[in-house]
Amino acid sequence: MTKITSLADLKSIKASVEAKVSLRERSETPESMVQIRVAMATCGIASGAKIVMDYMINELDKRNIPAFVTQTGCMGYCYAEPTIEVTRPGHQPLVFGFVDSKKADQIIEKYIKNGELLDGIIPVNYENIEGK
């Protein structure tokens, strides 16, 4: 591991990570990756987020869909746990609530494969500090 010893080091790491992420999110090419974030705070895990994450990783792999599944912290929608955020390349991220294996299957088959929406999408109801 190279240590960060200057501001320039930090900036170069930042630039390289940003490039990776934006390639994943904005690319319009069909082979680029779907990005999935699973809210895995204690409350999410308690309501089954771990199972959903494992299911997503395994099933996407089995169905040959290139995807990038990561964990993240609490999204704040505690009433709808487990929650996941799905970003199809070139599309706005969408948050799905009350995701179990059955719902995860529908999300893969309908939304990820076909762009067909599902009932129960959670509208993002906050602003982040970017652009503020």
């Binding site: 930042k14 974030r37 409350c43 704040g76 505690c78 009433y79 959670i122 109801n125």
Partner: protein, 597 residues
């Protein structure tokens, strides 16, 4: 394979449901089938948009049109105009109250989103176990800026200018605290992060540590640079295993990247962080008790002064801040104090995270600018009261706070307005209560908690709270007298005035605020021997209605204490002296003959 060209998102939140969103949904579907568009347009329901006042809401994708207050009868027009002809239905667009202009594009409707995430900026966004994702979001840029471009005094000045106040409860200005600690002379100083979140119903600190641990590490290092400390300690409750694990991973990664350790960013500044576990005692949220617990002693508070900024952990100057406070720091440095100070109310700057819990539809973690009204929080973001019940009160500030009622809904909440209303900010727990909650029982619930959590060092808190609790028990049992009410109030003031630490000084608040706002409920318990919400079991009476009872004997057969007598096909009677008020008879009766008096 169907590829839909257009999506209509109909809000299926409870509030919108109450304003006919279901019928609207059906009408849209029917209309689409009628026009033969079912393979091109998809209608789906979504969760709450947090804009319930203007519901029902429809969002159209991909053009992001946002319609508000849509009636079921508007379905035909939306399909005919917008979907088929591509013309927006202007009369249903949202009118910006400031500019009086119609807003069609939800991207420009940022202002309807009443939440702004500063402390939670990365929660639910980055992978907390991957430092690179934090760096990609400007992580560690603030500490880099402080170390390479600013002197400690300049950073402190910036913090003071931002107006950030401690988010753990007291609301003490953070910059000032740093300044005081920086002025103490010592060979070693400490930065302590208070992650001993103890208020019932509050979980923002846990969520921040679980979702964005690096922001806390970075802020602690900045604080260390300012006050002249090279050591930081996180005091965290052992009940938060996942937060501990993610914090440890983050600390390890930060060390590997050279962001903790010696010569950070090639400067002379060194900083390292340690973890101390707490056993989850509420009193250890108090700085001095926390420090004693960290030192391996009993978690008991001591009299201030000396303040921790002069003599704290191991007798050295110590700066204690809470997790949420720290999470704000890197943003203030990156975006500037003026930016931060432009958000919030006059004396409380920035945002506050609240944990919404209780009888509310959208239970969750929210972050709003200071100065947002309770009404917006509960009825917009929170989606209103569960099951369409009536709002009664909201408890803020946990066991140290108070209950706010209908008349407080429109106050702009910040540190000072909540205190003026007889409650307090506390760490940001908000427990919403509806018409079914008995306020005397609620006061008793919090007193139970305080009695349990009092460390026992000073008499007013140890004995006084116990006596308060006994009086509340007596009132709930229907044995209270009017003298008890006076005694309750007097004793509350004595405890407030004479207790050693913040725990005792605030513990009678739930009693005082419920007495202030719900005096009639206390009177009902004492004078009429009734619990208006039907919660206090001792004051309930299960009675059988003569007219409805058919003598089926179901109640008598299911009564666990044989309190019900009566012949088959004859009227049954409950013996009140034997009845234990379990409610089994009410549940079993198929003829609505059992009722609560």
């Amino acid at each position: 394979m169907t590829q839909y060209k257009m999506h209509l998102l109909v809000c299926g939140g409870t509030s919108c449901g109450a304003s006919e969103s279901e019928q609207l949904f059906q009408n849209l579907k029917n209309e689409i089938i009628e026009k033969g568009l079912e393979n091109e347009v998809q209608v789906i329901t979504t969760g709450c948009f947090g804009f319930c006042e203007k519901g029902p809401i429809i969002k159209v994708l991909p053009d992001n049109t946002f319609y508000t207050q849509v009636k079921p009868g508007d379905a035909t027009e939306i399909i005919a105009e917008h979907v088929i002809k591509g013309r927006r239905v202007n009369r249903l667009l949202y009118i910006n109250p400031e500019t009086k202009e119609a807003v069609s594009d939800s991207k420009h409707m940022g202002f309807y989103r009443k939440q702004l995430r500063i402390a939670l900026r990365n929660c639910g966004f980055i992978d907390p176990e991957n430092i690179e994702e934090y760096i990609a979001r400007d992580g560690y840029a603030a500490i880099a800026k402080c170390l390479t471009e600013m002197t400690p005094a300049q950073v402190i000045e910036e913090m003071k200018k931002s107006g950030l106040r401690g988010r753990g409860g007291g609301g003490f200005p953070t910059g000032l605290k740093w300044e005081i600690t920086s002025k103490s002379q010592a060979d070693q100083k400490y930065v302590v992060c208070n992650a001993d979140e103890g208020d019932p119903g509050a979980f923002m600190d846990r969520s921040i540590l679980e979702g964005d641990p690096h922001s806390v590490i970075e802020a602690m290092a900045i604080c260390g640079y300012c006050i002249g400390a090279t050591k930081g300690v996180v005091y965290i409750r052992a009940e938060y295993p996942l937060a501990v694990e993610r914090l440890k991973i983050a600390m390890k990664q930060a060390s590997e990247y050279g962001l903790l350790g010696t010569h950070i960013f090639g400067t002379e500044f060194s900083f390292e962080i340690d973890i101390r576990y707490g056993a989850g005692a509420f009193v250890c949220g108090e700085e001095t008790a926390l420090i004693h617990s960290m030192e391996g002693f009993r978690g008991e508070p001591t009299i201030k002064p000396p303040f921790p900024s002069v003599s704290g952990y191991l007798g050295k100057p110590t700066n204690v801040n809470n997790v949420e406070t720290f999470a704000n720091v890197p943003v203030i440095i990156n975006k500037g104090a003026d930016w931060f100070a432009s958000i919030g109310s006059e004396k409380s700057k920035g945002t506050k995270v609240f944990a919404l819990a209780g009888k509310i539809n959208n239970v969750g973690l929210i972050e709003v600018p200071m100065g947002t009204t309770l009404r917006d929080i509960i009825f917009e973001i929170g989606g209103g009261i569960k099951d369409g019940k009536k709002f009664k009160a909201v408890q803020t500030g946990g066991p140290s706070g108070g209950c706010l009622t209908e008349k407080h809904l429109d106050i702009a909440i910040d540190f000072d307005s909540l205190t003026a209303a007889g409650s307090m900010m506390g760490s940001g727990g908000m427990i919403v209560m509806d018409e079914d909650d008995c306020m005397v029982s609620i006061a008793k619930f919090y007193l139970d908690f305080t009695v349990e959590e009092s460390c026992g060092k000073c008499a007013p808190c140890r004995i006084g709270n116990k006596r308060l609790n006994e009086m509340l028990e007596k009132i709930c049992a229907g044995k209270g007298t009017m003298e008890d009410l006076d005694l309750l109030r007097n004793l509350s003031y004595v405890i407030k005035d004479t207790s050693l630490c913040g725990l005792g000084q605030t513990s009678p608040n739930p009693v005082l605020s419920t007495m202030e706002n719900f005096y009639h409920e206390y009177l009902a318990h004492i004078v009429d021997k009734k619990c208006p919400s039907g919660q206090c079991k001792a004051l309930l009476q299960y009675v059988i209605d003569e007219e409805n009872c058919v003598g089926c004997t179901a109640c008598a057969r299911n009564c666990p204490v044989n309190a019900i007598a009566g012949e088959r096909k004859g009227m049954h009677i409950i013996d009140q002296s034997t009845c234990i008020k379990c409610g089994a008879c009410l549940e079993k009766c198929k003829f609505n003959a059992v009722f609560i008096k």
